[in-house]
């Protein structure tokens, strides 16, 4: 959920809204914000599934240290979405297990 109004921070300064893809679904987010917050702002909380038990994982530390938020972005696996800026046209995919490079990449 986006915090559009805030008693201390004021109105959210809207950056450039851009389109990106999440598991093939077209989505919108702000250019330069972490991929993770573009997803969470749209209500997506599950980012990947673990190797052995296929457990859902999402954001935990939000500062790029714990790697719970990694996803495949533009074909590259294990991208820390909480510290990687969103760019127009990015293809973000739910990662399963240890992650694999997209074929052809």
């Amino acid at each position: 959920m986006r915090v559009t109004k805030h008693p201390i921070l004021g109105k959210m300064a809207k950056g450039q809204e851009v389109e990106f893809e999440f598991d093939g679904i077209p989505m919108r987010g702000y250019e330069g914000e972490p991929i993770a917050t573009a997803l969470m702002g749209a209500g997506v909380k599950v980012f990947r599934y673990t190797v052995k038990d296929h457990n859902p994982r999402g954001v935990f530390c939000a500062i790029g240290r714990c790697t719970d938020c990694v996803m495949r972005v533009d074909g590259m696996p294990n991208v820390r979405t909480c510290v990687t800026p969103l760019r127009k046209g990015m293809r973000v995919q739910t990662q399963t297990g240890l992650g694999a490079w997209e074929e052809g990449r």
Partner: protein, 170 residues
């Protein structure tokens, strides 16, 4: 920390009666005066230097609790938004026969408007009365801590320290 405060996070009336920052009944009936609910030793002293009348003393050892000189204090309210702990209020028991005016710091949305009816809320978050927003001050120099004056039943002047906007009022 006071035992009650450290267990519940709420100062009791008994605690406050011992606070050096709390004015006498007599003084509260004469007109608006600061009501300082700061009872824990934290190094902090903005209230001391912001008061234009010099009515609040913390001293050089900024760990000391603020002491209120109720004669010097004229209840202007400038100390309310300056307190980082949002622990200072203004009380005026002389407001009218049946009502007291209570000034509270407020940092939430939506900001109420003058004339609005609200629930008067006590230190435990319980709605204890209907209250009326008499005035709202939110100038730039308050740095986003608004000062909201509520008219409350006089007997609840020492209870109401927060409010919630009523359903339907916007």
């Amino acid at each position: 920390m006071r035992e009650s405060l450290s267990k519940t996070g709420v100062l009791t009336k008994e605690d406050l009666a011992q606070s050096p920052g709390v004015p006498s009944e007599e003084r509260m009936e004469k007109g608006p005066v600061a009501y300082i609910e700061c009872m824990e030793e934290i190094p902090c002293d903005p209230c001391q230097y912001v008061c234009p009348k010099g009515a609040i003393t913390v001293g050089k050892q900024i760990i000391e609790l603020p002491v209120l000189d109720e004669q010097k204090c004229d209840g202007c309210g400038i100390c309310i938004p300056i307190c980082p702990g949002l622990a200072i209020f203004v009380v005026d028991k002389g407001y009218s026969d049946r009502e007291a005016l209570v000034g509270v710091p407020y940092e939430m949305l939506p900001l109420p408007k003058a004339g609005m009816k609200v629930h008067g809320v006590d230190r435990e978050g319980k709605a204890v009365c209907e209250a009326r927003v008499v005035k709202l001050l939110n100038p730039k120099k308050f740095d986003r801590t608004a000062l909201v004056y509520l008219a409350v039943p006089k007997e609840l002047a020492l209870d109401v320290r927060h409010f919630t906007v009523m359903e339907g009022e916007e």
